[in-house]
């Protein structure tokens, strides 16, 4: 047992070696995903139920069409600089705050859209890593050191894994620790989600019943076992932070979980899936390996 604990501790949260190419690809992919999902139309000009920084700052000016267009262009410029890797200890915190401000206004309408949380968490975690790494000997401000690149990967993984872990805590707490035994009732929520999707745009694709819903409700044990598998992946993904192999396995597993939710409920998790592909499946690392660019840099 002692040996097992020692082994667990030794392999917990290692700091991986990140090559310049992998770091650059991860930034380019992240910037691309953030850009892709930026709203084109201005957000509302009201904040009836302020959340986060909207409690202290009036963000409604962002909803004015002319202001929003300038703000959007500024965000895009920040994304370009972030992707280039220039002055990350300055650019990343500014980008994170600017991104969070925009989605704070969008989420201050009396309901929460959770689609963008994962991107905000990635930028926020990486900004903290960049600020944490702001030390005189850490290398030039203009070019990210190998150490900062390793920390940006681990920070993004830790932020994302925390989000999944929080969801696990909420499931346990809100259900009075009975979630694992009642998870088969999510099949009814699948019907609800389909109906809500239908009434969003009267889209006939969602006018039917989700696949296998009656079977699921007639077989609560197997249905709960299926949903509980997703719960397990969410709970354990945190253990893969920093580990290339485990992160790959959990990244693929979590993407499969999101894909199956999409199949059954019609819910989309594009942001989560792309960020999992970048930081857990580690597509940038795999590309860098394929190109033979995995230099043995010591994280300094």
């Amino acid at each position: 047992m002692k040996k097992l604990l020692h082994l667990f501790w030794t392999h917990l949260f290692p700091l991986p070696i990140v090559s310049g190419l992998e770091g650059a690809l991860a930034r380019v992919f992240t910037a691309g995903v953030v850009y892709h999902f930026l709203p084109i139309l201005p957000p509302p000009t009201v904040q009836p139920v302020p959340v986060g920084m909207a409690h202290f700052i009036d963000l409604t000016w962002l909803g004015q069409a002319s202001n929003f267009e300038i703000y959007r262009q500024a965000l895009i410029a920040l994304l370009v600089v972030y992707a280039s890797g220039l002055a990350l200890p300055v650019v990343l915190p500014v980008l994170a705050v600017a991104y969070i401000a925009l989605y704070t206004l969008i989420n201050s309408q009396g309901f929460t859209n959770h689609s963008h949380h994962i991107l905000a968490v990635v930028l926020f975690s990486q900004a903290l890593a960049a600020l944490f790494y702001l030390r005189p000997k850490a290398g030039s401000w203009l070019k990210p050191s190998s150490g900062l690149q390793a920390w940006m990967l681990v920070a993004a993984q830790a932020g994302m894994a925390s989000a999944y872990l929080i969801s696990v805590f909420s499931k346990l707490w809100n259900s009075g620790f009975t979630w694992l035994f009642r998870s088969h009732y999510i099949a009814l929520d699948m019907v609800k989600t389909m109906r809500q999707n239908y009434f969003s745009a009267l889209d006939l694709r969602y006018a039917t019943e989700p696949p296998n819903v009656v079977w699921m409700l007639e077989h609560p044990f197997w249905t709960a076992a299926l949903f509980d598998l997703g719960f397990l992946v969410e709970a354990l993904i945190v253990l893969s932070v920093g580990s290339r192999k485990l992160a790959f396995l959990f990244g693929v597993g979590t993407i499969c979980m999101h894909r199956s939710i999409n199949y059954f409920m019609g819910l989309e998790f594009h942001q989560n899936e792309t960020m999992l592909a970048v930081f857990f499946v580690n597509v940038p690392f795999l590309i860098a390996c394929l190109l033979g660019q995995r230099r043995q840099l010591s994280p300094g």
Partner: protein
């Protein structure tokens, strides 16, 4: 210098704890979706006075699931204000919340350069599984 292990062992629990305490304060969230599976599920949708369903997102930019989120949040805030449970809210308080929500939807429709019908109603549907079938029961939640 602290090791990556120690930093993450501090940072992850702190971030989780903050998120659970701050709840829905972007970028923090306690991700409450599907956290309390229940034998009865429910949703809201919008209709005109004649009972014709309206495409909420096309008209207001607000997605279908968010109508329920808005109503539940406002009803819960109102219940807290009156120091009662949501189910014990007086009818006039519920109607006030529904009226404010429709006013908000009209503002959003205007922002989207759309116009909502003069008279609207909010429908409430419950879903449950009984006798080997998924049953949906629909009722008028509020009508203008």
């Amino acid at each position: 210098m602290l090791s990556s292990k120690v930093i993450l062992l501090i940072a992850i629990p702190v971030f989780c704890a903050l998120s659970l305490v701050l709840k829905e304060n972007f970028p923090f969230s306690h991700y409450p979706m599907y956290s309390d599976p229940d034998p009865v599920s429910a949703y809201y949708h919008l209709e005109d006075a004649a009972g014709k369903a309206l495409p909420l997102t096309q008209l207001t930019g607000v997605r279908g699931p968010n109508l329920g989120k808005i109503l539940r949040k406002r009803l819960s805030d109102q219940a807290k204000k009156l120091d009662v449970g949501v189910k014990s809210l007086p009818r006039e308080a519920v109607e006030g919340v529904a009226r404010d929500t429709l006013a908000y939807l009209r503002t959003q429709a205007k922002h989207n350069k759309q116009v909502l019908p003069e008279k609207l109603r909010i429908m409430f549907t419950t879903i449950q599984f009984a006798d080997g079938k998924v049953e949906e029961k629909r009722e008028v939640f509020f009508t203008e």
